[in-house]
C-alpha cells in the first residue's frame, strides 16, 4: 500500500526516533539504579508473570473507582490488542496486496479467513470501546473538572505541576490515543468505503463507511494513506515522549508490580541497606538517597490521585498528598534528566522540592495509599525514610514526638511513667496475673504502653485479664521488663531506638518461658509478628480477638446473653486489618454476641485510619479541620442512624487501645455524645458472657484510720 518514498520515510523515522527513545529508556534505567539498594527481590520471573496476569485482568485498578476503572479497562484492552493491530497495519503498509478486511479478502482460505474475521471483529469493537473510554476520561478531566485531581492547599508542588504540567501531559496523551485509534478506525472505514461493501465482522466500521460512500477513489486512497500515517506513524513520533510522560506507566506499572517488596506489609525496609558502610546516614535527605524501588515508583505513577483520596491526612485538610510526592519526584527526574541519565548524583533535597516537613509529619502510616495504588507504589515508604533522616539530623522534630521518644528511651514508655510502674494495672485486675519471667506460661501477654498506662484503657486491660483467666488460659506478662514494642517508634523514623527496644524486649523474652504471644495492641502485634523475626524473635503472635474467638469456638467461653438490644458497627484498626488481615475474628465475635450489625462503607481493606498511628498521637499540636476520627464517627452515625429501629443503643466497636482513646474523644469533640457509644470488643463480650461485675463503684475507698 505504501509508496517507496513513504516506506523509506517510515524506516528513517523508526531508526531516528526509536534510537532516541532507546537512549532515553537506558537513561531511566541508569537513573533508577542510582537509588540506594533495597532488599533483594526474590522469584522475579514468577512475580512478573503474576503481575502481568493481574494487569491483564485489571485487578489492581478495580480496588477503587469502579466506573472509571471500567473505562480504563476499555482503553487497556484496546491498547493491548492494538499491539497485534499495529503489526497487522505494518503488514498492510509494507506487503503489497495484504489486507485483512472481508476475511483477508477471501484469498486466505476458510481457516485463516476465519482468524482474520475474528481479528477484525475484536479490533473493530475494541477501537470503539477505547475511544469511548478515552472520551470519558477527557470529559471527566477537562469537562467535569473532577475535584479528586486537584490538591489540598499548602501541598508542595513542583513548579512544572503548578504550571499545569499534569493537565498538559494528559491532554497530549489523550489526543495521541484519540488520533491513533481514531485514525486506525477511520482507515478501516475508508477501506470498506473503497469497495462499497459492508463487512459483517467490522460492524462499526461498516456503519461509518456509509458516510464516505460518495468520495472519489483518489480521495479515498489519499485518506487511507493519511490515516495509516496518523495511526502507525504517530506511534513512532510519540515514542520519545514516553520518556517524559506519565503515559510510560503502561510499561513501568507491570514491571513495578512484579518488583514489589517481598514479605509482609508490616515489615519496613531497613534504614540503611544491608552491608552498607557503618557511617552511612539512615533514610533519605536527597532524592537519590531513596531506595531504587522508590525511584521506579515515580515512573509507574499515572497521577490518578487515588492514594490521596484515601489518605486520612488529606481527608482532614492537611498538606500531605502521597500523589503529589510521586508526581514531584517524576517532575524532578524530568527536570534533571540529562545529568541523572548519566548516573550522576544531583542535588535534589526532598524536603525543599518533593514534600514539605509538615506533610511528612502528617502521615499516620495507615498503609491506605500503598494498598489502593493500582501500580504498586509505596509513597509511605518514602515518608518513613525522610523521617529517618530528619530524626538522625535532629531537624524539625515536633516537641511532642521528641518527648515521647525521650520517654521511651529512658523509661520504655511514652506516658512519662517510670518503668517499674508498668505492671501496676495488674495489681487490681481482680485475678492473679503470672510473671512470665518467673514461671512458664503458654501465652506471653505483651501489654503495650496504652493498655498499661492510659487510665481510660486500663479497666479494659483488666477485663481482658479476667476473661482470659475465666476461660482458663495460661498466660503471664513480662511485668516491668516489657518495653514499648517500637512499632510507632520505627515509623516515626527513630530506627536506632527501635533496635534498642527490640534488644530490650528480646532480653526480657529470653528470661521468660512461653510458647506464643498475645496482645490487645495491633501496633505491637504488627512489629512483633512481622519485624521481630528479622532480629531472631520468632513466635506466633495473636491478637486477643483471635484468641477469644478460638475460646468461644472451643466452648471454653459461652455466650449467656444475646445482645440484640445493640446496633453496632466495627472499626478495623489499620495495624490489625490492612496490615495483618485480622478482619474476621472481631466480626465473628460480634455475631456470636448476638448484636445487630452493619458495616460502614469504608471497611476491611478500605478502613479509614483513626489518625493516631505513625506517631500522630504524640504530636504536640492538634491541626485544625475535621480529624479522621471525627469523620469516622460521622460515617458510623450515617450508617447506623437510618436503621436504628428498636435498638436501645448504637455502638462503635473497636479492638485497639488507641482507638478507645481516639474515638471516645472524637464522639465528644464532634458533639455526638449520647448518640453513639464507643466500646472495646472486650466490654461487649464480657456482657454477652455474663461476666460483667455489678454496677457501682468498686469498693476501694476504705482506708483504715
Amino acid at each position: 500500500m505504501l509508496t517507496l518514498a513513504e516506506e523509506i520515510a517510515f524506516i528513517l523515522l523508526v531508526v531516528v526516533l526509536g534510537g532516541l527513545t532507546a537512549v532515553g529508556f537506558r537513561g531511566i534505567a541508569t537513573l533508577v539504579r542510582s537509588g540506594r539498594a533495597a532488599p533483594p527481590r526474590e522469584d522475579v520471573p514468577r512475580r512478573l508473570m503474576s503481575a502481568l496476569i493481574d494487569v491483564g485482568l485489571q485487578r489492581p485498578i478495580f480496588k477503587a473507582r469502579p466506573v472509571l476503572s471500567t473505562f480504563h479497562a476499555f482503553i487497556f484492552f484496546g491498547f493491548s490488542f492494538y499491539f497485534l493491530v499495529n503489526v497487522a497495519d505494518l503488514f498492510e503498509g509494507f506487503i503489497p496486496g495484504f489486507a485483512l478486511a472481508y476475511g483477508a479478502g477471501g484469498a486466505a482460505g476458510p481457516f485463516l479467513g476465519g482468524v482474520a474475521n475474528l481479528f477484525n471483529l475484536v479490533a473493530d469493537i475494541l477501537s470503539v470501546l477505547t475511544l469511548v473510554g478515552m472520551i470519558a476520561f477527557l470529559v471527566r478531566r477537562f469537562g467535569m473538572k473532577d475535584k479528586r485531581l486537584s490538591f489540598n492547599d499548602g501541598v508542595l508542588l513542583h513548579p512544572g505541576v503548578q504550571a499545569g504540567g499534569v493537565r498538559r501531559d494528559s491532554a497530549i496523551v489523550g489526543t495521541f490515543i484519540m488520533l491513533h485509534v481514531g485514525s486506525r478506525f477511520l482507515g478501516q472505514t475508508l477501506r470498506l468505503a473503497e469497495t462499497g461493501k459492508a463487512d459483517p465482522f467490522m460492524p462499526f466500521a461498516s456503519l461509518t463507511s456509509l458516510a464516505f460512500g460518495g468520495l472519489s477513489a483518489s480521495a479515498l486512497s489519499l485518506g487511507i494513506h493519511v490515516t495509516w500515517w496518523t495511526a502507525i506513524g504517530l506511534i513512532v513520533c510519540f515514542l520519545p515522549y514516553f520518556v517524559f510522560s506519565k503515559h510510560i506507566h503502561l510499561m513501568v506499572a507491570p514491571l513495578n508490580l512484579g518488583l514489589i517488596k517481598p514479605g509482609p506489609r508490616g515489615l519496613l525496609d531497613p534504614a540503611v541497606p544491608k552491608g552498607a558502610p557503618d557511617d552511612m546516614a539512615p533514610g533519605a535527605a536527597q532524592l537519590q538517597d531513596l531506595g531504587w524501588p522508590r525511584l521506579l515508583d515515580a515512573y509507574a505513577c499515572i497521577m490518578c490521585n487515588r492514594c490521596q483520596e484515601v489518605c486520612p491526612a488529606h481527608g482532614s485538610g492537611r498538606p500531605l498528598s502521597p500523589a503529589a510526592l510521586e508526581v514531584n519526584k517524576r517532575y524532578l527526574f524530568n527536570h534533571h534528566f540529562t545529568s541523572l541519565a548519566k548516573g550522576e548524583q544531583a542535588d535534589i533535597p526532598l524536603l525543599a522540592m518533593a514534600i514539605s516537613p509538615e506533610a511528612v509529619w502528617s502521615c499516620t502510616t495507615c498503609y491506605a495509599c500503598v494498598r489502593v495504588c493500582p501500580v504498586g507504589n509505596e509513597p509511605m515508604a518514602d515518608i518513613v525514610d525522610i523521617r529517618r533522616r530528619m530524626i538522625y539530623d535532629t531537624a524539625e522534630i515536633d516537641s511532642g514526638i521528641q518527648g515521647a521518644l525521650e520517654g521511651i528511651g529512658k523509661n520504655g514508655n511514652w506516658f512519662g511513667k517510670v518503668a517499674r510502674t508498668r505492671a501496676r494495672w495488674a495489681k487490681d485486675a481482680g485475678v492473679p496475673i503470672k510473671d512470665a519471667t518467673k514461671e512458664p506460661v503458654e501465652y506471653l501477654w505483651f501489654v503495650g504502653d496504652t493498655a498499661s498506662f492510659d487510665q481510660r484503657v486500663v479497666p479494659l486491660t483488666q477485663k481482658v485479664a479476667r476473661v482470659l483467666s475465666h476461660a482458663g488460659v495460661d498466660f503471664g506478662i513480662l511485668n516491668n521488663e516489657e518495653r514499648n514494642a517500637g512499632n510507632d517508634v520505627r515509623r516515626v523514623g527513630e530506627e536506632g531506638l527501635f533496635e534498642m527496644l527490640v534488644e530490650q524486649n528480646m532480653k526480657a523474652f529470653g528470661k521468660a518461658q512461653f510458647k506464643q504471644i498475645i496482645t490487645t495492641d495491633p501496633h505491637s502485634l504488627n512489629t512483633l509478628r512481622n519485624e521481630y523475626p528479622q532480629f531472631g524473635a520468632e513466635y506466633p503472635v495473636h491478637h486477643y480477638t483471635a484468641v477469644l474467638l478460638e475460646l468461644l469456638e472451643a466452648g471454653k467461653l459461652q455466650v449467656t446473653e444475646k445482645l440484640g438490644r445493640y446496633l453496632a458497627t466495627y472499626h478495623d484498626p489499620c495495624y490489625l486489618g490492612r496490615y495483618n488481615q485480622g478482619y474476621e475474628p472481631p466480626r465473628r465475635l460480634l455475631e456470636l454476641a448476638g448484636m445487630r450489625f452493619a458495616e460502614m462503607p469504608r471497611n476491611r481493606e478500605n478502613s479509614y485510619c483513626c489518625g493516631a498511628g505513625g506517631g500522630q498521637i504524640w504530636l504536640g499540636s492538634a491541626p485544625a479541620g475535621e480529624r479522621p476520627a471525627e469523620s469516622r464517627i460521622r460515617e458510623a452515625l450515617e450508617t447506623l442512624s437510618p436503621i436504628t429501629g428498636d435498638a436501645e443503643q448504637l455502638l462503635f466497636v473497636v479492638s485497639c487501645p488507641k482507638d478507645v482513646v481516639m474515638y471516645t474523644d472524637a464522639v465528644k469533640t464532634s458533639g455526638n455524645e449520647g448518640k453513639i457509644v464507643v466500646r472495646d470488643i472486650i466490654e461487649v463480650l464480657e456482657e454477652a458472657l455474663g461476666l460483667t461485675e455489678p454496677a457501682g463503684l468498686p469498693d476501694t475507698a476504705q482506708v483504715p484510720v
Binding site: A271, D278, D279, P282, R388, I391, Y392, T394, I397, Q402, L405, E406, G409, K410, N411, V418, A419, R420, E494, E495, G496, L497, E499, M500, A701, Q702, V703, V705
Partner: protein, 255 residues
C-alpha cells in the same frame, strides 16, 4: 575557641536506691547510672555557644561506672566534636575532690578557652566540682548560670539569684562556668546516631599523673530518712468524718 565540658554519671533516682552492706554509701551494683542532668544542660549550652560562633566542643569524663562510653556517644550525637575520658580504673562514688583533680589535670593540657560543667549533681548538691576545677586550674568561676554568650575573649553570662533576681557578668576567658540551665532545652540525641557513633567514633583516653583520690573526709554512716509521722486518712460520709475529727481533737485535748 576550644570549649570543654566536664561531665559525670550519677545514680538514677527513678528507681529505688539501696544502701550497701556497711551502710556507708549506696549499693552501686543495684543502681542504674544516668548522666547528671545539669551536665546535660552544660553540653547543650556548649553546643549552642559553638553554633553561635565557632570552635569545637570536647566532652570529658572519668569512667567510674564502665558505662561512660554511651554517654560520650550521646554527647557526640548532640553535636560535640570530640570526646575523651580519663584513663584508669575507677570505682563508682568518686568524691568531688577526686573528680576535680582527675578532670582538671586532663583539661588543663587541652588549653581550653571555656570550661562548662553542671552547677550541681544529686551527689554534689552543694556544687563543689565547678569551683574546685577552677581553683585547680587557676581560672575564674561563675556558677548557677543559665545563658552564655561569647564575644572575642569575653563571655557574657546570666547568673540566677534567689527570688528571681538575675545578674549579668562579663567573664574574661578562659574561665569555668557552672551551668544551671542552657538557654534552650537540651536537644534530642537520636539513638540512630548514637548507635552509629558507637561503631565509628573514637574516644580519646587521657593519661594523668594524678593518683590522689581521697578527699580527706570519710563517711561514717548513711541512712534513709527516718519517718517521723504520717497522715491519717479519714474515710466515710461527711457525718462519720466530722465525728472522727471531733474525737481526734478531743483525744489531743484541743477542744
Amino acid at each position: 575557641m576550644k570549649i570543654v565540658v566536664a561531665i559525670k554519671q550519677v545514680p538514677s533516682l527513678a528507681d529505688e536506691v539501696e544502701l550497701n552492706a556497711e551502710g556507708t554509701n549506696l549499693d552501686f551494683d543495684a543502681v542504674d547510672f544516668v548522666l547528671n542532668e545539669w551536665d546535660e544542660q552544660a553540653i547543650e549550652q556548649a553546643v549552642l555557644v559553638k553554633e553561635a560562633g565557632s570552635g569545637a566542643v570536647t566532652v570529658i569524663g572519668v569512667d567510674a561506672t564502665g558505662e561512660l562510653d554511651g554517654v560520650l556517644h550521646t554527647a557526640l550525637a548532640k553535636g560535640a566534636d570530640a570526646v575523651a575520658k580519663v584513663a584508669g580504673e575507677f570505682e563508682p562514688g568518686l568524691t568531688s575532690h577526686a573528680q576535680a583533680r582527675l578532670l582538671s589535670s586532663a583539661i588543663i593540657d587541652m588549653a581550653p578557652d571555656l570550661v562548662l560543667t553542671g552547677v550541681q549533681a544529686p551527689d554534689d548538691l552543694d556544687g563543689q566540682l565547678g569551683p574546685m576545677l577552677a581553683a585547680l586550674m587557676d581560672l575564674p568561676y561563675v556558677g548557677v548560670v543559665n545563658s552564655v554568650q561569647v564575644s572575642g575573649r569575653t563571655a557574657t553570662v546570666h547568673k540566677e539569684y534567689a527570688g528571681g533576681l538575675m545578674a549579668e557578668f562579663s567573664v574574661q576567658l578562659p574561665a569555668v562556668i557552672g551551668i544551671q540551665a542552657a538557654s534552650q532545652p537540651p536537644r534530642y540525641a537520636p539513638v540512630s546516631k548514637v548507635r552509629q557513633l558507637a561503631k565509628t567514633a573514637t574516644i580519646e583516653e587521657i593519661e594523668t599523673a594524678e593518683d590522689e583520690l581521697e578527699s580527706g573526709l570519710s563517711v561514717r554512716s548513711m541512712t534513709r530518712p527516718v519517718s517521723v509521722g504520717h497522715a491519717d486518712m479519714i474515710a466515710g460520709d461527711a457525718k462519720a468524718v466530722a465525728g472522727r475529727i471531733i474525737a481526734i481533737l478531743n483525744e489531743r485535748g484541743l477542744i
